[in-house]
Structures are given as structure tokens and as C-alpha cells.
Symmetry: C2
Subunit: 398 residues, 2 copies
Amino acid sequence: MSKQIFKEKIAQTVDILKEKDIDMWLTFVRESSINHDAAMDMVVGNNSTWEAAFIINKDGDTTAIVGDMEEENFVKAGLYKNITGYLKSIREPLQEYLKKKNPEKIAINFSKTSVLADGLTHGMFLKLLDHLKGTGFENKLTGAEEIISALRGRKSVTELSIMKEAVDETLKIFDEATNFIKPGVSEIEVAEHIKKITFDKGFELGWEETHCPAVFAGPNPSGPHMGPSDKKIQKGTLVNMDFGIMYKGYCSDLQRTWYVLNDGEEKPPEPVQKGFEIIRDSIQKVAKALKPGVKGVDMDAIARNYIIENGYPEYAHGLGHQVGKTVHDGVAGLFPSWERYGNAPFMELEENQVFTIEPRLPVEGYGVSTLEEEVYLTKEGCEFISTPQLGLILINTK
Amino acid sequence: MSKQIFKEKIAQTVDILKEKDIDMWLTFVRESSINHDAAMDMVVGNNSTWEAAFIINKDGDTTAIVGDMEEENFVKAGLYKNITGYLKSIREPLQEYLKKKNPEKIAINFSKTSVLADGLTHGMFLKLLDHLKGTGFENKLTGAEEIISALRGRKSVTELSIMKEAVDETLKIFDEATNFIKPGVSEIEVAEHIKKITFDKGFELGWEETHCPAVFAGPNPSGPHMGPSDKKIQKGTLVNMDFGIMYKGYCSDLQRTWYVLNDGEEKPPEPVQKGFEIIRDSIQKVAKALKPGVKGVDMDAIARNYIIENGYPEYAHGLGHQVGKTVHDGVAGLFPSWERYGNAPFMELEENQVFTIEPRLPVEGYGVSTLEEEVYLTKEGCEFISTPQLGLILINTK
């Protein structure tokens, strides 16, 4: 990520702290190359070996307290106004700084809902309590979930423009898949081909190589998040691919569905066509309803109910997630009210958040119908970042 | 890491649980590609998107409770005897499993001392308490530090043999530095040359590229952990390099010191020679004392005091750390009793642990004298893994 974006995000943080009325946001880390707090990718940029505190205040002051061996690194980075080095323990400079600023509310990085707002380990939480013991500040700690949620979700103009480029590049790679898919080719062969094109273009994969891309050749494909197998593509079946890239520090995440025409077929059989249209239309229904202020749980219900009403089983996952520096980004999501999603389905959605919409349904005997599009929220609705897939991509083997 | 090593480490865990009399070790994670618990690299291998529990018991039973979308991945991995999938919440299968096993003591991954034993985030700790509420098991939780310390520290025969190969390969790359270092070449040029050789050989860097290798051209070099600069190597000064590779999943970490002879010099000036010998001899003194049962704090004191007695300032860091899958590995270390090292200096050292020994001292007007060797503890002492540097490597520019 460029220094410019870090500066934008730190400035944005100050505005968010004002809006949420939180005096101070404290990111407290050690050996962050081993146990990495995702907040550092938004407002720090460099890892820290020794215990370090990265502090952004509502009043605009920014201070980093770091091991003195690393002081020069952070001075060079130039993101924090004050850099304080320490040798034996961070306790004294940290206490001193807090006494000077005297915050009423200090946000730290823990969250039951979101991994992205939960970078503080339990051991480091206990260490922080030790450091603050007796100062009174140990009673002023609160979770930084709403800060991080806003900061990661509200994409800047620069961020949105990079994310659009990422999606455009990804769709070009999907076109290469269309040229490659044919009967007899295995899921793994498709995946290897796509990876090679991605690396040749100088991009990284959007997520772990074991299932990026994930390729599903129906019927009876593996579940989502499974890696490709040596199963071969057959005539008269559906093929899907879930794939994204990492581009200039931001991810894309898209899915497309192909149908391989059988001997003598001019078009897909009716159940295949219907299964596709239900998915396509459920996405359009959600996109019409998506706007700032609505809740993810209601968006998920629109697609989920539409699919159930049409006689298909509901998908065994959420409808969509935010995308950003990580492929599952932000906190709020288009999720059902299942316990494992915590508070994320119930948060009001905001302008400039980027979401995937990715419903799925099985087409008995043919495979799976699934699409994944990316949209961002505008002031009054949403816009597609990806050009939506409106018809099945047909593989003609005549 | 090969499946074989994971199996070795899981089997070793069962022995450690018996030795420490802990019934169960529970690694509790979510979205582990974003917030990664280092324990997974020892006993799991695959990441998990949904909340997951990886459980190893003193009685030898191993069970993973994972999101059902990911169940097949973990079945395929074949490391855990039982794999249980869940859809909406991990709570029920987790409670059910605990009731069946009824452990008296459950170790979870938090530690004030070590990042490697501190993979559980504070938010996940709170979630775990929620999941266990009312079962009584929430009162049976303890830190897994001693399990993880033993597991990471006690290298298996396979691990030791890989680590020896890693050091051998690294020393060959240091020889290439000897051929490259000469007056007028910058720190960055040396670093780029070394990185190119490393990548050409198909290895990865041992730590972050910004300071791997770290190259220091005296006099007045930057502190340790700083990246190389455009400072040029001069005649009549010391040059040091701190460098390691990642080889078959294990790291190396070594330092060497060169002296660039000045016009008319046949050998280094007396202060340079003395500074080198003090460092070299301090390492030998530590190696003679190192054996299972001693404490790191006493090992650090041997080198630190020897350097101070000889009229040099003490080094501003620990004497040495463990090495393994990460460059700073294990929990126990050869550290002074500074607060930031927590309990790590006071743990008894064990057979088959691998340590660096890396004292440092300034040689006024010439630069820094520093060496870093790797040793492993035998039943009764220690053996060098690296061939120790016994004399300054002289760069002759005549």
C-alpha cells in the first residue's frame, strides 16, 4: 500500500474518532510479523518486533512508542508525528503519554464479531492491563470494532479506483477460463492454467492457493472453499469458478458459471437455465434494495427467501462479505442471523463499502449455479463494480 | 512442512501433555489466514475460515471441530482422528465434546511471555467464555505456554537435520558476500546481491525483506533490525551482515563480520582485532556453559559481563533466541532480566532446543563487531550448528 493511502486512512481515522466520540485508538502489538494485527495494514505499514503502541487521537495527535532498535524505521516511515523509543520496557513511556493526553475512552483492538478488529491477543491484553495498573486508564478501555469497521469499510476514492481495476483485471482472467474449459479437462488443470496467467500478469492470488481459484465441475461438486480435484469436466454439466486476485494491495472476489453443452444441445436444459436465472435475479433484487442504512441480515433474507420460494434449498453460508485489503474485509456483512456471524449482520451499511453478492443453489444432476458480483454503496443505492453475468456462458464442443 | 513432521509434532504433543499433566490442548481460531495462530503451523497445517477447535488430548485422542464447508479439507489432511463439521455455531459440538472428555485442565493459546504461545485473540477468548458459559469448563482454562514452549523447542531428528542444512546453505551465501564486499559498494548493493543469490537458489528470506539481510558498514552504522542504506563501504572499517533463509519451512539466522584492510595494512588494527576476539570468545564461553537445565538469563550474563569487563558497553538486546519455523522461535531465550522479556529468561533450557548466540560491541571509529552462531543443546552440553567464525574475514583491496 502506498504511503499516500496510509496518510489518507490515518486522516480518516481522526474524523471517525470525532464522529464516534472516542478520544484515543491504541494499537498494541509485538512480533507483529508472527502474530499480525490487521489494523497495522490500515494505519501502520511496518511490523514491530518489540512491544509497540500506535496511537491516533481525536485531537489529531499521532504517536508511536516503539523499541529503540526500531525507532529509526518508524521515523523514516513518516506516518506518526511523534516517535518515542524505549529500551527496557514500554510501560513508563506509555503511562507518561496517557497521563499527558488523559483520554476518557481508549479503544483497543478486540472484537467478538470481526477478526479484522480483533488483532490484540489475550496475552497482550493482559500485558496492557499490567502496564496500566493503578493509572485508572485500565478502566477506560473499549473495543475498537466501530472504528475499524468504519475505517476498513469506507473506501476512499483512491481505494475504490484500485478495486475497480482489480475487478476488471480479474474478469479478463475469467475470459481466459472460458477459452480453456472443455470436456475432459480437470478442475486442477483449470486452476493451474488460471494461476499461471495470474502470476504471468504479475498479480498475486486473492486468497490461499489451495482454493484460489476454486473450480467446481458438476454434478456433485465439492462444497465452497474446497480446492480443485482431478475430477474432469463433462458434457451436459455446469462448471463454476470462484477466483480473485490481489492487486496493488486490494483483493477482488468473483464467481462465474459455465454450462458445457451436451451432444445435440443448442441451449441449456430448462432446469439449468432456471437455476441460473434464479441466482442472477436474486442478485438484482438485492442490488435494488442495497443502500446506506439497511442491514445485512435483511439483504441476505431477500436472496435466501427468493431461492427458497422457488423450491431450492438455502445456501449454507452468508450472501456476501466486504472486500478490501483482505478478501473477507470490514465487519458488517450480508449475513443471516446465525450465531457465528455475531453482530455483523445487524450493523447499518454505509456509503463506499464494497460487498460481494454470492448466492448459490444446486441444480440436481447438473452441478451448481452460483455467481458472485461486487458492488459498492453510493449515497442512495449501490453500483456494480463487476459487470454482472446475465446469461450462462456456454461451452460449445461441436 | 511435510505431513510427516506434523504427525511427529502431534505425537510429541501427547507426550508433552502427559509430562505436564494437562488433559487437553485446545487451539481455537477463526479466519486464521488473516489472524494466524502460530500454533497451527506446528499441529494443524491448514487455515480455517470459520471458528474451529483443534483438540489434542493426553489420552491420545485428536479431534477437530470445523465449519462444515471446510470439513472435507481437514478430512483430506488426515492429521486428526475425528473431524466434526458444524453449520450455524461451534458451541453445541464443542460443549458436547468437552462433556464427553470431561477434562480437568484445558490449555488454550495465551501467554504474556511469548507471541508463539499467544495466538488466541482477546475477542476469541471472550467468545470461548461465551461458548463454555455454565458448563464449568470455563473455569478449567489455563495457558498453553509450557506445551508450546516444549513442542517448538524440542526439535525432532528430522527438524534438526533440516535446520543444519539451512545453516550450511546460509554459510555458502555468506561466502558470496565475501566475494562481493569491497570499498565503494553500498549496503543496499550488498543486500540486493545476497537476495538475488537467495532467490536464484530457490530459498526464501528468513525474515522481512526490509532488513534481511541487514548490512552494516562502519563506522557509525545503524542499529540492529535496520534496513541497509546507500552508505558505501570504506577501507579501514568493519562490515557486518545479519542474514538467514527459510529452508523447507525452517529458518536460519547468522551474522558475520568482515574487515576491509586500509592502504598499507597487512592485518586489522589492534582495536579491531581485540573487539572481534572479545565477541568470538564470549560466544565460546557461553557455549561451554550451555546445557539442559541452565537458565537463559545466566547465559546472557556470561557474555554481557565479559564484554563489560573488557571495557565495552553492553549490547542493547538479548544474547540469543531460539530458531525454528520462525526466526524468533520457542519461548525460553538467552535474555537479560528486562521486563519486556517476561518469564522467558528464567525458563530451564532443554535438550534439542536451537539457540542463536549473538553478542555485539562497538569498535570506536571502525564500526561494529558482531557474530551470530547457531547451537543446539545435547544431553550434556551444546553443539555448534554453524561453523563458528574464528577470525575476522579480511577484504584485501590491494
